[in-house]
């Protein structure tokens, strides 16, 4: 009886370790591809990400730059220092409003940021932490109230 118990325990533990090892291998590989860095417009200007790399860009949408009427919507995000033009194909989330924060995922093509996803937040009062920090860095932050 004990022999069987021990054998089963060894086998199952072995199996467990194998699965866990595989899991960490997969996590390691997948993370390498999927981690996206956050850049503020100033960081893009000063220290641009390598070409073709997917990253997240965030800042405030500059007044008067939001264009939703064509098939490719566009707007300019700024952190007070620098600005980057963002182009997005499709219907922008409702909460993309001039003067409010936005985060977009995509890559640079020349001087233009081509977004594949624009983040909608659920609440106009809420500013994504990354953007708040980026604005603070540029001395542009004023708490929304």
């Amino acid at each position: 009886m004990t022999g069987l118990k021990k054998r089963r325990r060894i086998r199952l533990t072995g199996l467990g370790f194998c699965v866990i090892a595989v899991a960490f291998g997969i996590i390691y590989v997948a993370l390498g591809d999927a981690v996206q860095f956050f850049y503020s417009p100033s960081q893009v200007a000063e220290n641009p990400p390598e070409a073709g790399r997917l990253f997240r860009l965030g800042g405030l949408i500059r007044e008067g730059t939001l264009n939703k009427s064509t098939r490719d919507a566009s707007f300019v995000v700024t952190d007070g220092g620098h600005s980057v033009k963002v182009v997005y194909t499709g219907v922008l989330p409702d909460l993309i409003v001039e003067g409010q924060g936005a985060i977009a995922t995509g890559r640079m093509q020349g001087e233009i940021f081509v977004a594949r996803e624009v983040l909608a937040k659920h609440d106009e009062k809420y500013m994504p932490k990354e953007i708040a920090d980026a604005l603070k860095e540029q001395g542009f932050y004023r708490p929304t109230q």
Binding site: I26, L31, A34, F38, G90, D94, T105
Partner: protein
Amino acid sequence: MPPYAPEHVCHFDLLNRKYARILQGMLNEIGHFAVILAFAVAIAQAFVPLVGAQRNWAGWMAFGAAAASVQFFLVALGFGILINAFVVSDFSLSLVAANSHSAKPMLYKVTGVWGNHEGSMLLWIMILTLYGALVAWFGQGLPARLKARVLAVQSMIAVAFLAFLIFTSNPFTRQVPPPLEGRDLNPLLQDPGLAFHPPFLYLGYVGLSMSFSFAVAALIEGRVDAAWARWVRPWALLAWVTLTIGITLGSWWAYYELGWGGWWFWDPVENASFMPWLIAAALLHSAIVVEKRDTLKSWTILLALLGFSFSLIGTFIVRSGVITSVHAFANDPERGRFILWILCIVTGGALTLYALRAHRLQSGPAFGFVSRESGLVINNLLLIVATVVVFVGTLWPLAAEIVTGRKVSVGPPFFNAAFTPFMVALIVVLPFGAMLPWKRGKARVTVRNLRGVAALSVALGIFVWSVQTGGRMLAPVGLMLAAWLVMGAFWDLLLRARIGDVPPSAAWRRLQKLPRSDWGKAVAHAGLGLVVFGIASITAWETEDIRVARIGDRFSAGGYEFELRTVNDVKGPNYVAEIATIGAYRNDKEIAILRPERRFYPVQRMPTTEAAIDMGLTRDLYVVIGGDRSDGVWTMRTYIKPFANWIWIGAIVMSLGGVLSLTDRRYRVGAGAPRAGVRPAE
């Protein structure tokens, strides 16, 4: 002189209103007081029964049950009074002023109570105390000591969260002077699908506290037996069922409300509810082994501890704002720290106790490597590893920022790449494991039994592959796995009815007489198959069309034709809207009229998009309009989403399976009664 001068009426009315306001104010204070009193009761309940159980003082132990009921009624009273404040739009409470509006529809006045941090926290606590009260009310069969200890542990959690509520997130905070009108509920939350999403989610999330308390009580006692498992398993199952329903509602809501038909985003807040779900699924499977075979005890205890710990981690993620999410509640570091402390004490304490006491739990009889027990161990292993993947992906940004200072995010590609393999492995082994006999089985027999099902599934996969021209392997593989699960589940039932061995009529009778838990198992596993089917179809075959259209334009997308006919302005109860009318055609025959809307809620100054969806079992037509009306041009986004609804149908079928299992005879007869009705497996 008339007997009643108009100014008298007016005066009287004013007086009346003044009294009403004073009464309303008193009511709020009563609610506030009830919650504080509940906190006091909880403190007593956390100690008295525990001491009673240690010293074997019956009176002290009995205190636990009474206190649990009182505690629940007090919190429920507070919650009821808060609902009342929302219903009568009492803006002297700052919570009501910040989240409600007198013109809001009644349903959303009520559901708005839990559409914010403070109110939802009170709901969370009410459900926690409800579970405590349920132990008190239905736990007559439990050994007195176990019951007392469970109630004490449950109450310790309540103490922590009531303190959190009262000191950091008090829903009864007054606002002087009260504003005339409230700031309304976020319009995205004014939706029936979301109205019932949090209560179900919390029933599940917080329901895991029950297994947690039982696990801690068992560790204090140093004893776990079949009676313990027979009590814990239905509660774990109930938590899992409600969590399934809650997650499904949330996913469905995202699908139709957020306007691009996504149904799962791997957002931190979604993951926060998904991790406890995975652990609960593991727990309800391993509890079967404890109940039927009296083994895997310390593992099951560990899972019970982990399950609720993940609920707490989820609460931390949602309410601390440390991880950027599209729908985090609050951005308050103080609250985050408080929850982190609760998490550390609860989880750390429980795991320490586990380390000290787990060796006392005697492990039961041995089982062979090829056996149902092993199957369930593998199920657990894969579910836990999948949880680890989700956990790493969710917390990676936080860890990376602390270590490197860079802000990163981990997107869906990570989860798709790292989570899917384990789910595929789980699905492949599931029908085998489910069919293996307890204790010791023969792999060859089970493989032979499943040969037909496997062949049919592979044939289906090949068929799909040959029909779809080009295309990714996702659809053929996904549909093959789905068929494997669904057919495997029902083939198992048929074999149990001994189809082929006995005449069909006898098999039919046997099928009806199979225990409900067997049916529940088959239905739940088949439900998982349907979910896989829906996910594979929508991911592989979705068509998307984005274009700019003018009134009268007609275009085709994915085999259908659409015509933008008109766009009208309409006024709703608390919003204004532009509603487009779009005809959908198939083979020149009109099959549906779609009316997508763009709404604007003036109070919150927030626009929302209401997609129009023509739902069907084989496909959804999903249309969204955007753009500016000034130049008469509309952006239209049109999707054809094949078999989309099977994702949610499958999830509901899964939870139905859970409910079927809950109605099994062994839980109705003598739940908790020491050795009643331990049946052999077959």
